[in-house]
Amino acid sequence: MTTLEVRRITKVYNVRGAGQLTALDDISFTLNSGQTIGLVGQSGSGKSTIAKILTQLEKPTRGEVLLDGSPIPRRGRGLRSYRQQLRMVFQDPFASLNPYHSIRYHLERPLRLDDVVPAAEIDAEVRRLLEKVRLDPDAVIDRRPHELSGGQRQRIAIARALASRPQILVADEPVSMLDVSIRLGVLNLLADLQREEGLGVLYITHDLATARHFSDEIIVLNQGRIVEHGTADDVILRPQDPYTQELRAASPDPERFFATTTGGAR
């Protein structure tokens, strides 16, 4: 069991000529393996900043991130080890894979870099990873990214993230850029993997409906602050905070719409 604790993270940017901007203000939450937390926010809420801080692309102004009780090392082997345990899946399936290299290369690299398996077993491991994300290894292993569909590419990105056998997966809008009919498939895959591998997943999104569907808990961010944090059903069905209530009211909900209106007034 692994615990990722975000403790009182604050991130302030200095914007030239315009003072300071507080992207995150005193954010705290805990993510355990085997659990999915949905981090819901609109643009400017700070949700992407959290992802950057967790993956060490940005340093927080105040506060810290603790993995199993210890703060993230700044450099060296400790940092490497952290990076193996927390992986990210990005939003853009087109941009996150190098168009020059084959799928095999994309998956072999993390295996080699992190010494996950001995060299002789690398090929077998690549195949195993591809099967885990429900892709046929023979069909994709020697292809280049542009030969695959968006959904397939995102599955590859997930496989790559899983290569180092992480404990925590940060998924930043993993399906926003995919075709509508494929989205659920990829999200279901993430849910299955979370169960199978015992991962802790931080699912960052702006979409309440999918957050509800896939998360155990939901955190609502508004302009850098946590305004609501509870179980998925509590937050969506019984929101306490006015901002959350507004978000819910503004999100399309045909179920409720057709139940309450006669279909006339819009």
């Binding site: 030239r16 315009a18 901007l21 643009s43 400017g44 809420s45 992407s48 926003s176």
Partner: protein, 363 residues
């Protein structure tokens, strides 16, 4: 889909409840009244000043890096140079090694601020400023005019060709670029051979007829135009391709943008979309290139001046280099440096003037 706003912090209040009721607020920047971006330029001013200082300081060191043999020899041979001039020359060229380097530097600045660039060995000890001043107008006038004409034709032509993508007009691109790859001296000599020697339409060289004295009279001006036509035309022909290609390519990029489709959907007449929407956006990088190329006008085109025996700055520099006339060389470098700097400033102003987006961003 998430919003496509940049990930950098913004100042929008779109999330707050009040904002939704009142209407979404905009980014903080205020719509400026003045189209000249003073704040933007002010930020750059320090940079310009620094560059100027750096250029002049390098200019100071330049002759000191070269061997001063010719000067010492010259001074040894020519006793009739006035002591003041000799001193100035030494100061300028760093021969007064009895003074400290710092003192020399200060003297140098003193001279600069007085507009004294020393005297030219090659031109009978006339002040450098005078020598350059005589050659400069010819270069700037001819090459400047040629650049402007070339830019105008190339840009307007390129806009048109880009607009009519795939039509017969496309042939102008390879034709003009081909012309620009012809070695200029060959083009010049060819022009002279055909138009001056054979057809005798134009004189063979020089800026004006031999024996004429420069003056603001019709006769002289007529001569200037007559003599200048061939060099002008050859420069225009040689440089047209670059402008045309650049503008056409930018047009193609711009024409793919959404706002062009929107303009057409709005029922705007073609001419309006072409000039008001497409060309107006595509020309931005061209303007920058143009402003920068102004800086290089002053350097002159040595080849043109040699082919046409045109009394410009390029030839001046070449002769000075061969004769080791350091003062003159230094003077010409100075003028070139200053003009490139001024051109950069103009480019910045022009771009900020034309593209409202840059007015917001800091340097």
């Amino acid at each position: 889909m998430t919003a496509v706003e940049p990930q950098l912090p913004t100042f929008e209040d779109e999330g707050s409840a009040d904002a939704v009721v009142a209407g979404t607020t905009a980014t903080r920047a205020v719509a400026g009244r003045s189209r000249i971006p003073w704040r933007f330029l002010g930020g750059r001013a320090a940079f310009y000043v620094f560059t100027l200082w750096a250029a002049l300081t390098i200019n100071f060191f330049l002759p000191r890096l070269m061997k001063g043999d010719a000067v010492t020899q010259y001074l040894a041979r020519n006793r009739d140079i006035s002591p003041e001039a000799a001193d100035a020359l030494r100061a300028l060229l760093g021969l007064d090694t009895d003074k400290s380097l710092w003192q020399q530097y200060l003297d140098y600045w003193g001279m600069l601020l007085h507009g004294d660039l020393g005297v030219s060995l090659l031109h009978g000890l006339r002040p450098v400023t005078e020598v350059i001043g005589q050659a400069l107008p010819w270069t700037v006038g001819l090459v400047g005019l040629a650049t402007i004409i070339s830019f105008a034709i190339g840009t307007i032509g390129g806009a048109f060709i880009g607009w009519r993508r795939g039509s017969k007009l496309d042939v102008f691109i390879p034709v003009t670029t081909f012309l620009s790859t012809i070695p200029y001296f060959w083009l010049g000599l060819l022009a002279i051979a055909v138009f001056s020697v054979n057809l005798k339409w134009f004189p063979i060289g020089k800026a004006y007829g031999v024996g004429m004295t420069p003056g603001w009279n019709l006769d002289f001006i007529g001569q200037v135009i007559h003599h200048g036509t061939l060099p002008l035309l050859t420069i225009v022909i040689a440089s047209l391709g670059g402008w045309m290609l650049g503008m056409r390519n930018m047009m193609l990029t711009v024409l793919d943008e959404d706002y062009i489709t929107v303009a057409q959907a709005k029922g705007m007449p073609s001419r309006r979309v072409l000039w008001g929407y497409a060309a107006r956006n595509a020309v931005l990088p061209q303007i920058q290139s143009f402003a920068l190329s102004i800086g290089f006008i002053v350097g002159g085109t040595i080849v043109m001046e040699m082919v046409f025996s045109y009394p410009g700055v390029g030839k001046l520099l070449l002769d000075a280099t061969n004769a080791k006339d350091y003062a003159l060389m230094q003077g010409v470098f100075l003028v070139i440096t200053l003009s490139v700097l001024v051109a950069n400033i103009l480019a910045d102003i022009a771009y900020a003037f034309l593209d409202p987006r840059t007015r917001q961003t800091e340097a």
